[in-house]
């Protein structure tokens, strides 16, 4: 019924094309058919811009996705470990590394072509030939890049010393030969007994390789000062590893070198605990009394007062 209504309504339309509309329509058709090809199809004008745009997009996409040369993979790190009193030797990339224990060294080539050497502990003598890559030696927070033929590093919880040439010889003399006469390191050149005129300390970072290793004695470079927080951190590590004597040494050095530092109270408190653990009650009491009398850290003072009350 509904479909019939719609059909009847639409069928009732006249739908005839009168002469005026027929002629105007034909004129428009004739005009459009006789227009130039470009003007007759204006809707295709977008192709003029679309094709270059598409080509540009393709070029950009290819440029983005083009595989780039990946840097060559670096060789894996090598660990060099020496027990106390032992000597471990390793030759790599033209460099000869001699580690006197107790010590641990990690060796890995760097992206800049140098040979990276991180000394965690121990005394290391590094010797290299002229065509060997530079050595990037890291000790503590410092990294030294050197092209010297001989370079020595000594790293202990309290000391970091490094030097090249004659200074390297001095380091080996000081930390290996004198302290452990049983340990000998073959590559070390003999040390002259009396230097005529000691040259200035060897530069830590030099670029020009030297002609031959020096055998004259250079003054030992000064120890790198270790800040109070670093001392305290090392003392904490020593306590964690149950090395009470090492911790005590570090804390006492902190008290001596930095008497006004904020960590002094904490250091005294830890020393008191170490003394108590060692049965040295009198020493512990003295330290606690010092904290109570001189301390600035309220939390440490409170803890010290509590601890003092427990002591007889």
């Amino acid at each position: 019924m509904i479909a019939r209504d719609v059909r009847d309504a639409l069928a009732s339309l006249d739908g005839r094309l009168d002469d005026v509309r027929r002629e105007s329509a034909w004129r428009a058709i004739d005009r459009e058919l006789n227009e130039p090809a470009g003007a007759a199809a204006p809707r295709w004008r977008w192709r003029r811009f679309a094709i270059p745009t598409f080509a540009f997009a393709v070029v950009v996409a290819v440029a983005i996705m083009w595989p780039r040369p990946t840097p060559p993979a670096l060789a894996q790190a090598t660990e060099l470990v020496a027990e106390a009193g032992q000597t471990t030797k390793l030759e790599r990339d033209g460099a000869t590394l001699t580690l006197v224990g107790p010590g641990a060294v990690s060796i890995a080539p760097q992206r800049d072509g140098s040979l990276g050497i991180r000394v965690a502990r121990g005394t290391l003598l590094a010797e290299r030939t002229d065509d060997a890559p530079a050595l990037a030696i890291a000790a503590g927070a410092n990294t030294t890049v050197t092209r010297d033929r001989r370079f020595a590093v000594h790293v202990s919880p309290t000391t970091i010393v490094l030097g090249a040439g004659a200074a390297a010889t001095q380091i080996i003399e000081r930390f290996v030969v004198r302290q452990a006469s049983s340990v000998t390191v073959e590559p070390i050149a003999p040390v002259a007994p009396t230097p005529p005129a000691p040259p200035p300390p060897a530069a830590r970072e030099t670029s020009a390789p030297r002609a031959a290793p020096r055998t004259d004695i250079a003054p030992v470079p000064p120890e790198i000062p270790v800040e109070a927080p670093e001392l305290y951190r090392r003392a904490e590590e020593a306590l964690k590893s149950h090395d009470a004597s090492q911790a005590r040494e570090l804390l006492e050095r902190l008290l001596q070198d930095y008497p006004d530092h904020a960590l002094v109270d904490a250091a005294r408190y830890d020393l008191a605990l170490i003394a108590l653990a060692a049965g040295e009650r009198a020493k512990a009491r003295t330290l606690i009394d010092e904290i109570i009398a001189l301390g600035h850290d309220a939390a440490v003072r409170t803890a010290a007062i509590t601890l003092r009350a427990k002591l007889p």
Partner: protein, 192 residues
């Protein structure tokens, strides 16, 4: 002049196939004869599809421009009138797709309703046509085209299938579906 031209075109005894050959070869006079022979029927189809929409003349022009472009590919597998209807339905569907669905067509009843009706009858006719166009616009384009060709233009199912380029069974199904949808839409409006 127009009347003379129209009579001349109508009196042209050349067949559609012959005229197509000439028009394809570049004879604009031959295509004008084709236009004058089929414009009336195409315009009628457009009127039934769209109602008294003011854009019918533009769509008529577009239909014949596309027909002219399609002549070189015409292989004679149907009549020129079927081809013109086929192109006209595509033009209408494109027109519906271009126009947003919510935009009501602008209707012009000046030429489409017989002038001898009384004002009341004229108003009734306008209302029924407007309602029919509104309902028809709610159908999907393919259903709309099949319904108009079969039910309003009264073309046989086979011819409808040729125009919409579908299987006759599919064309028949579209018509039936259009009828059911119209009934559902009308009852829904009545309930309101």
């Amino acid at each position: 002049v127009a009347a003379v031209t129209r009579r001349t075109a109508a009196a042209d005894q050349r067949s559609d196939a012959e005229l197509i050959g000439l028009a394809t070869a570049g004879d604009s006079g031959a295509f004008e004869v084709i236009y004058r022979r089929h414009a009336e029927r195409v315009f009628g189809l457009l009127t039934r599809m769209l109602g008294p929409d003011i854009e019918r003349e533009d769509l008529l022009q577009e239909t014949f421009v596309r027909l002219h472009a399609a002549l070189p590919r015409f292989r004679g597998d149907c009549t020129v009138s079927t081809l013109a209807y086929r192109i006209a339905t595509r033009v209408v569907i494109d027109h519906w797709r271009r126009r947003p669905a919510r935009m009501a067509p602008e209707l012009d009843f000046e030429h489409e309703i017989a002038p001898d009706l009384s004002p009341a009858e004229h108003a009734d006719r306008r209302e029924s046509i407007a309602r029919a166009v509104t309902l028809l616009n709610k159908l999907k384009p393919k259903l709309r085209v099949a319904f108009v060709l079969r039910e309003v233009m009264d073309l046989p199912h086979d011819e409808v299938a040729r125009i919409v380029e579908a299987h006759p069974a599919a064309a028949r199904m579209r018509v039936a579906l259009a009828k059911r949808t119209l009934a559902a839409l009308a009852s829904k409006e009545d309930r309101r």
